[in-house]
Amino acid sequence: MSQSAGQVTSSSLTPSRLATSGLPAFIRTFSSLVALATLVIFNILFTPNFLAVGTFNANMTQVATIVIVAVGMTFVIATGGIDLSVGSLMAIAGVLAPMFLLDARQFGAPAVGLVLAFVAPLLATTVLGAFNGTLVTVVGLQPIIATLVLYLGGRGIAQLLVNGELRELRNLGSPLIPSFEFIGLGQVFGIRFQIIIMLVVVAVAAWVLRATTFGRYVLATGGNPAAARLAGVPVNQVKMAVYCISGFLAGLAGLVVVAINRSADPHRVGEYMELDAIAAVAVGGTPLSGGRATILGTFIGAMIIQLLRFTLIAHNIPDGITRMVIAGAIVVAVLAQRQRSS
């Protein structure tokens, strides 16, 4: 590709060339699918009870929150940015929700409290996403610095909101708790509800990126911001929007985590999530330079990391080695994609 870049001659209009130039995204996705399939087959053959419903649910439960956050991260990275604040925003959403469940009686009808327990945390993290976006666009900070602010300060906010204390949901004594916990523990047709949330988020995001004006603007902003602006793309609004989306999805993941754990720990909810999400995006084939993105790839990337971790743990590999293997997998994945895309 590189030698012939810049010149299209009649000889280059061959079918094979058409195939390579039109489908690189598919091929990238495909290579990570092969890796995922390899992991699945390995586990079917060598890991006892891999196909048991319990194992499936355990894996999917752990991957669901990472995928939800990583989808938001994919949008941010597609514009050439990055969002380090997602873990802290999860914690903020996580500690906010029980407050509304606790004080449910104040809101008249209990249902109001339940609705607020979902809406208020999501609104808060979306607004904090807008704060990130403001630092990036209006103030003009580098995204990594801009979101470092809430990475550090956000967890502080979460701790202050609950005086640094862990909040057990069942100790709240609220009749709303089971309803709230449904997003983490409930099942629909035998499938964990959070898995459904994850799949919906992935499907909607993939569609938005592919089929909408906004999706086009996101990729144009990341691909060449100066050119995009001159073509009428509202570059700053687009950047603002992706940080809001990332904040919203981080909040959603925070609610799911709290529901699964049946407790809100301001110190632990969303810890290291920013790194897991970025790793999923990178392994999935979205370059950190922006301008290109694949939501499906991010989903597969998160699954690969999860299964890799599961496989190593299931076979009693020490944690230190597990970490190194995952690090190696990220390097291999990124190198493989770079070869294909250049």
């Binding site: 060339r17 050119a227 602006r229 001159l230 073509a231 009428g232 301008g291």
Partner: protein, 556 residues
Amino acid sequence: MTEPKGVPEPLLVMEGIEKAFPGVVALDGASLHVAPAEVHAIIGQNGAGKSTLIKILNGAYRREAGSIMLEGQPVDFHNPQEAQLAGVSTIYQEINLVPYRSVAENIFMGREPRRWGLLDRGRMNRDATAVLDRLGVHIDVRQPLSTLNIALQQMVAIARAISTDARIVIMDEPTSSLDEREVEILFDVIRGLKARGIAVIYISHRLDELYAVCDRVTIMRDGKTIDERPIAGASKVELVARMLGKEIGEVRRSGATGFQHRGARPAGEVLVEANDLQGAGLDGASVAVRSGEIVGLAGLLGSGRTEVARAVFGADPALGELRVRGKPARWKSPRDAIRAGFGFSSEDRKAEGIIPYMSVRENLTLAALPALSRNGIVDNAEQRKIVDRFIDRLGIKTAGPDQRIRELSGGNQQKVLLARWLCLNPSLLLLDEPTRGIDVGAKAEIQGLIDELADNGLGVLMISSELEEITEGADRVVVLREGRTVAEFDHAEVSQDTVMHAMAHGDDEPGRRDVGTSGSPAVEGDSASRSVGAVTASASPGAPMPATLDEPGGRR
């Protein structure tokens, strides 16, 4: 190129220098001869290869062919530090110093005088003072560099350069951030260097400066050295002509471009007028464009051509009056200008035109997305129709609409970018170097297309460094110099000579240097108030973005 006769024993001889970057040949047999104690200018258009040649001399780039002889010895510097040790110092446009260290520390950075392994601050300060004294600059060398103004900082950079016993000092656009008085001081310093036997290589696009301070001039074009001559006796028009690759009095070769209909179409209403634009690179530029008219915007590098187009498009902030179809307008961003029916294509296709990883289809429809989508969802069928139509109509050679635009040739990329605007059925196109870096065939095609669009009522403001494009294509020519409108010609008055004179001197009279402070009036109906940036009324032009996407210009 020309034999350096009459030059006593050359200090520096560069011959047959070649250098290519991916996709571009930057230097193709360039040469440079510099004598001792000579101030030697290098001039040329943007992209002529001046900076590349300098960077090869000082080791920032490696040459692919050619020889460099310094005082008769072949040299081959691997980096600028090596060159500096050998006596070749470079002072860059952006001053390359550390603001929070002292003046003396900046001068001796990396080679501080030491005594018993420790920094000898006393000696460093004394030496620094001595070096600056030689330049006629008397300041406290212990103060941080950041407390000095730009001109003095530049003096420190020069002091740093000569403190290493430089034999050649290279200055790349040294006056770009200096005011007139500071320029004079710099010139005195340059004359002082010359008196001490140091040669200066001086790159500038301000021709007037060359006469003040330079002895000889090397003229570059398209990576080649075109001419080398004493500056005395070379007229500015001559220099400009050589830079552009023209001969004075050259007979116009009609049909050299794809333009056919210059002056033959009736101009319509005034689409846009910009009066007394002020801002970065602008100092009172005025221009107006009517529908069905190609206005050529001519001027040397740094004359404010691009800045005018960008200001009219709302791409950069500028003060001044902007009227769209007679009504005051003010853009917050290019988006507003696009809604008013404007389109702009940048001179730098790669940096400001294409979205490299997007397909031809996505690039082509980027500006039209609002019109192409319903509730924010892109209408794929409509998009496909439009893309297919423009690929066909403009003859865009591509493997298919899904091919990435960066894989296309420059000419085809440019066609896609033109189509980006044409599918919006615009009323005004601002085209900055629309045929730069495009092969001859595609060039004529694009010129023919612009011509045809103007026939059909489109207003075009066309910036070009190529005189033919201006003289053969434009119905009217506006000439800028130093950010000001200095001349205007209608198609009957336009010739390469008249335009070159205006570019070099600022008006028709050769030799006259000063033009009035206000730009020559380009626009009739200048009665309106000087409603500078304060005007907040948004533009409400007669024909905003069309609801339907039709053939460009409506009819064929």
